[in-house]
């Protein structure tokens, strides 16, 4: 035998495979103990060990779905360090204090214990881990072949226990939480506590159905206000929408004729990119990076308008919405891509004269050509970002109006009506495409929405899908229904082509004072059936 058996006498490759059986944290201890071990890991010629350690614990981040832009080169060491650090921080955070009383009722603000900025930055790696998870492949029929992801397992382990969930995800009951908690919660889906707590449901409803939470600054959608014209997801709002809609789905799912896999749900596994059904090759549209083409389902939740009024404006309404009554409607959407990158012909060609009321010609108003933003006489709200137009280009009257809305320029105030489909169909970003939006150009689509208690049962809609600056997938849809024009603004939870789908806020296109708004959820079908609702439960809709 060798004169002296010693770990450090072992050949390099054995040391490597030994270290790879250790957790990265223990590898660091070894590195610090001894120069020989250190040289195994730190090698100026290759980052093999860092890469191997990443691939031990995570999916290969270089792997991409078909048609997805190739990623940049990977800094394996930085990647591993950021993720392990997030794991350690996530495991060490103490459960935040959940405030007992609702924030509406408490007289003095509850002591806030938001995670320190350090944690917020560190933990923001966690959603990225989900976004980098393995891409499932699709069968020729478009069906997704399920594939386990190490990244999802990693996050599930981190968020597996009720203690970790309350520490990291928390609930809307805690005011002033870091947005990363809300974001993780929205990606994770309902926790065991969300399923049973009437107060969490109530607080989420109070956020979603309080009309002062919506406005031009946030595009009447789940976006942060005052982001210089760019739409950035407001994760606090999206989290509340997820809770409201998630609980509503659980209450209503029994009267829907949807298969298990078509039922909407938020789970980490579904909040991965590229998990939604892909279209068969014959039907797929070239360049449709968001997978818009095809069949989708949608649920819309709303409160009776009288209840909504009582809650928002009467001053004598209920104190909470714990026991509020909501209606849930299910629809089937069939969407077709119209154009990619450039607005469809009719979107820019002709503007309807402002004198023509939009309701006069029913048949084409649903599908009507939106107003051109360049024609100053049309009734159009246009939103520019600062990058698009400098301050000096505004005249004084406009500049005054901007004082209380610092980052949004209102050029034309709507007088009476707006054309459905005209709102925001064209924005300044179309004229100034960013690097990211060149890879993911705007997709313009049109389609039909089929409900069962609507009259007429089939309505037309149109919309667009954009890639935001932060990589979020932003949806916008307009439709006409029961004599009003509606607009929905939403964010796809989990990014490009996630099975979880889009959480969107619907509102009236005119956005008059005291107009209603509420949450809706759009997700892609996996089986291509038409969603049906049992009518007997819907008697209250006839009122």
């Amino acid at each position: 035998m060798y004169p002296k058996a010693h770990l450090l006498n072992l050949p390099q490759e054995i040391l490597e495979s030994t270290l790879l059986l250790l957790d990265p944290l223990d590898v660091v201890s070894c590195i610090k103990a001894c120069g020989k071990l250190r040289s195994v890991v730190y090698n100026e010629h290759t980052d093999y060990m860092w890469r191997a350690m990443v691939l031990n614990l995570f999916d290969d981040p270089r792997e991409r779905a078909e048609g997805e832009p190739a990623p940049d080169t990977v800094d394996w060491m930085a990647l591993l360090q950021a993720r392990i650090r997030a794991r350690e921080v996530a495991q060490s955070i103490l459960p935040s204090n959940i405030v007992r009383r609702s924030p509406r009722l408490s007289l003095k603000p509850a002591p806030l214990t938001p995670p320190q900025p350090l944690h917020q930055d560190t933990l923001s790696v966690l959603p990225q881990i989900l976004a980098d998870s393995a891409r499932p492949s699709a069968a020729p029929s478009g069906a997704i072949i399920p594939r386990e992801s190490k990244n999802v397992l990693f996050l599930e382990e981190l968020l597996g226990t009720a203690g970790r969930q309350s520490a990291l995800l928390g609930s809307p009951l805690t005011p002033g939480r870091a947005s990363i908690s809300s974001r993780l919660h929205a990606l994770h889906g309902l926790t065991a506590l969300d399923l049973v707590s009437p107060r969490i449901r109530g607080v989420a409803r109070e956020k979603v159905y309080t009309m002062r939470n919506y406005g031009l600054a946030s595009f009447w959608g789940p976006f942060l206000a005052a982001q210089k014209g760019a739409r950035k997801p407001d994760w606090g709002m999206l989290e509340s929408m997820m809770i409201v809609l998630g609980r509503n789905v659980l209450d209503s799912r029994d009267r829907w004729s949807l298969t298990e896999e078509d039922l909407p749900a938020v789970t980490l596994d579904r909040s991965r990119p590229y998990t939604q059904r892909r279209e068969e090759e014959a039907k797929a549209v070239e360049g449709d990076w968001a997978g818009v083409q095809g069949r989708w389902y949608r649920i819309v939740s709303f409160m009776d308008y009288n209840d909504l009024w009582d809650w928002n404006w009467s001053g004598s309404g209920p104190k909470t919405l714990d026991g509020a009554f909501e209606v849930v409607k299910l629809m089937t959407l069939d969407l077709q891509v119209m154009s990619i990158g450039v607005p469809p012909e009719d979107a820019v060609s002709d503007a309807r004269p402002p004198s023509s009321p939009s309701g006069s010609s029913e048949d084409d108003s649903d599908f009507h050509p939106p107003s051109s933003p360049s024609s100053p006489n049309s009734d159009t709200i246009e939103l520019f970002d600062h990058a698009g137009i400098g301050e000096e280009e505004l005249d004084d009257a406009d500049a005054d109006a901007l004082d209380h809305l610092p980052h949004v320029h209102i050029l034309h105030i709507p007088s009476i009506t707006l054309h459905p489909g005209g709102f925001n169909m064209i924005t300044s970003s179309d004229r100034l495409p960013s690097a990211r939006s060149r890879k993911h150009p705007t997709i313009y689509f049109s389609g039909t929405s089929t409900g069962h208690t609507t009259d007429p049962p089939v309505t037309r809609l149109r919309g667009r899908v954009d890639m935001g600056e932060d990589g979020s997938v932003l949806w916008r849809m307009t439709s006409r229904f029961s004599g009003h024009s509606w607009v929905s603004e939403g964010v796809q939870i989990g990014g490009v082509q996630s099975q979880t789908g889009v959480l969107a806020t619907w509102s009236e296109l005119e956005h008059e004072d005291h107009g209603p708004a509420g949450p809706s959820w759009i997700w892609k079908s996996r089986s291509n059936t038409v969603a049906k609702e049992r009518r007997d439960f819907l008697a209250f809709d006839q009122q």
């Binding site: 059986l21 223990d26 201890s29 610090k32 614990l57 392990i84």
Partner: protein
């Protein structure tokens, strides 16, 4: 058919073919020649194979492993999350010296499954120790000056924040 293995000390071990098959060197030497020469070198028990680098005590320990795995496939590929069977972990134990002997023998004899298990054994011993603990375990002095240590912390960046207390 069986085959005789001879340890460094000259002790003879009679093993059956499935057990010997686990040992890459023996398999290649005794039966693999079949492939090249058209006939097997070892056709009967009369021939012994000398394993000059392996002591009797280690060889007998290794043969226990080969006997256990004569009918099933051992793990040959692992990562930091992998759980090894209980029997394996009990077999390899926590004695660093012993593991290293097994590891060197497994490397020499070409037994990938046992090699991985030995690596796992070492990893388990190292697991959860701080740098000083590892130095004590290996019987080495920390060979970094203070200055280098500071540099290394910088290199490791924010790792330091959650490193095991030293």
């Amino acid at each position: 058919m069986s085959i005789t293995l001879i340890s460094k000390e000259g002790a003879q071990f009679l093993v059956s073919k499935p057990v010997a098959d686990r040992i890459g060197v023996v398999r290649d030497c005794a039966y693999g020649a079949d492939f090249w020469l058209g006939y097997a070198v070892a056709t009967d028990d009369s021939m012994g194979i000398t394993l000059a680098n392996v002591t009797s005590s280690i060889l007998s320990k290794i043969l226990v492993w080969c006997e256990h795995y004569k009918d099933m496939e051992p793990l040959v590929d692992g990562d930091s999350n992998m759980e090894f069977p209980e029997w394996d972990m009990a077999y390899i134990g926590h004695d660093m010296n012993q593991i290293l002997f097994v590891l060197e023998a497994a490397d020499y004899l070409h037994i990938p499954g046992l090699l991985l298990l030995a690596c796992k054994g070492i990893a388990d011993v190292l697991d959860g120790r701080n740098p000083r603990g590892i130095c004590d375990l290996l019987g080495i002095v920390m060979d970094f000056s203070h200055r280098q240590e500071v540099d290394m912390d910088k290199e490791n960046g924010y790792w330091r924040w959650f490193l095991h207390p030293t």
